[in-house]
Subunit: 240 residues, 2 copies
């Protein structure tokens, strides 16, 4: 490629990475804010998150279109092709994180008039959400720095999130059994917890994409939790 084309190609990649960084920041804020909206029953904040999601969807479409057009126009070779495919995949994962945070915000609105369960019912969710926020931040930093080792640390920590989800699931069922007036609220909390757990799964997807981007290899080893079918009978949560 001529020098001019190479430079404009680098500018394309740079632009994609910038858009993804913007998307990542937005998705982190959406997850944090949706948890606050739920815990404080702040419907105004919840509505803000619901509206913000459209911008994230638009950015994802833009990243996808730009990356595909770059592939079609420039016929990139292995390394650069990987960079573009990774951008498409990571943007898709971040967009899903936004959807899940938006769903938590919608549930914050839905339960605003409901009977209030004991405060401890939301403490576990808050804790789990904070852990996942840290995972999301770390994996986005790992992407920005093309740091495969850091990405793999995030990937390995997802087990903790899954364990926390299973324990929270059991806890919420207990509150429901104790007092039927808790059922509606706690059901929404169960779905919120599932959303947070799935956001955790998207951070591991992003970690896997970083591994592919940096090493050129797909991770064929499955996440450990995908192989836990033997212990599933004991698990109320039915992960994955």
């Amino acid at each position: 490629m001529s020098d001019h084309i190479v430079r404009s190609y680098d500018a394309d990649l740079e632009g994609l990475r910038r858009s993804i960084a913007e998307m990542g920041g937005m998705s982190e804020r959406m997850l944090g804010d949706s948890t606050v909206a739920l815990v404080r029953r702040d419907t105004a904040l919840a509505q803000k998150i619901i509206s913000a999601d459209q911008r994230l969807d638009n950015l994802q479409r833009e990243v996808e279109e730009k990356a595909v057009l770059t592939i079609a126009r420039r016929q990139p070779l292995a390394n650069d092709l990987r960079e573009l495919i990774s951008a498409i995949r990571i943007a898709a994962d971040i967009e899903r994180v936004g959807d899940l945070a938006k769903n938590i915000a919608k549930r914050a609105v839905a339960i605003s008039g409901q009977f209030s369960p004991p405060h401890r019912a939301v403490v576990g969710l808050e804790h789990m959400s904070r852990l996942v926020q840290a995972q999301l931040k770390d994996v986005l930093d790992a992407y920005a720095a093309s740091n495969e080792q850091k990405a793999m640390e995030v990937w390995r920590r997802d087990d903790e999130i899954d364990a926390l989800y299973t324990s929270l699931f059991r806890e919420l069922l207990t509150y429901m059994m104790e007092d039927p007036r808790n059922i509606t609220f706690c059901t929404h909390l169960l779905f919120c917890a599932k959303n947070v757990e799935r956001i955790g799964d998207h951070t591991t997807n992003i970690a896997e994409t970083i591994h592919y981007l940096v090493t050129g290899q797909s991770m064929d080893e499955n996440r450990p939790k995908l192989d836990t079918t033997n212990i599933l009978v004991d698990l109320p949560a039915a992960n994955g």
Copy 2:
């Protein structure tokens, strides 16, 4: 392009469409079988579905890789580029359908030892699943025939699925309030219903991709349900 290249290019597209047809058939069976496994508490059938999902994941990766390589090698123009992007998107949606069906199968295993709620608790889910199976079949047929009109019919019918989900959600909460022994089982049914509703969303995504493929335009009009935030307070289900 020379005649030879055009023919080999057509063979690439043909191969992708064949893989997607295979994926579509698999995902339809997985949804149908997972519902049967849940209703009959057939853990052997459930395990079969859980194992089958790996094949679907592999096919999706293959479609994605082949489509991207075709884009990189052949620099397709507008129409053909759309065909390849659509293949990537539809394969991703079908793969998600498989994941959701697998999750239903896992829940069928998880509840196999649980207290049995009244049979009517599963009747609503069965009904909803049958409707979504028909939607999935119709949208895959629409893709095979590049029939945009048929795709739009599927897209419009998703409202029925959402309404059914909301009513099923309320019904299951009622069983939980009637008898605390129903709580664990019905919670799993709630998640299964949510999974079926989300499979419905993936069929509308596929319908939107067919619209884009045939007309060259993205659908900028949102699905009606995305704008129901005003009635959300009354909705326990917090769709979307």
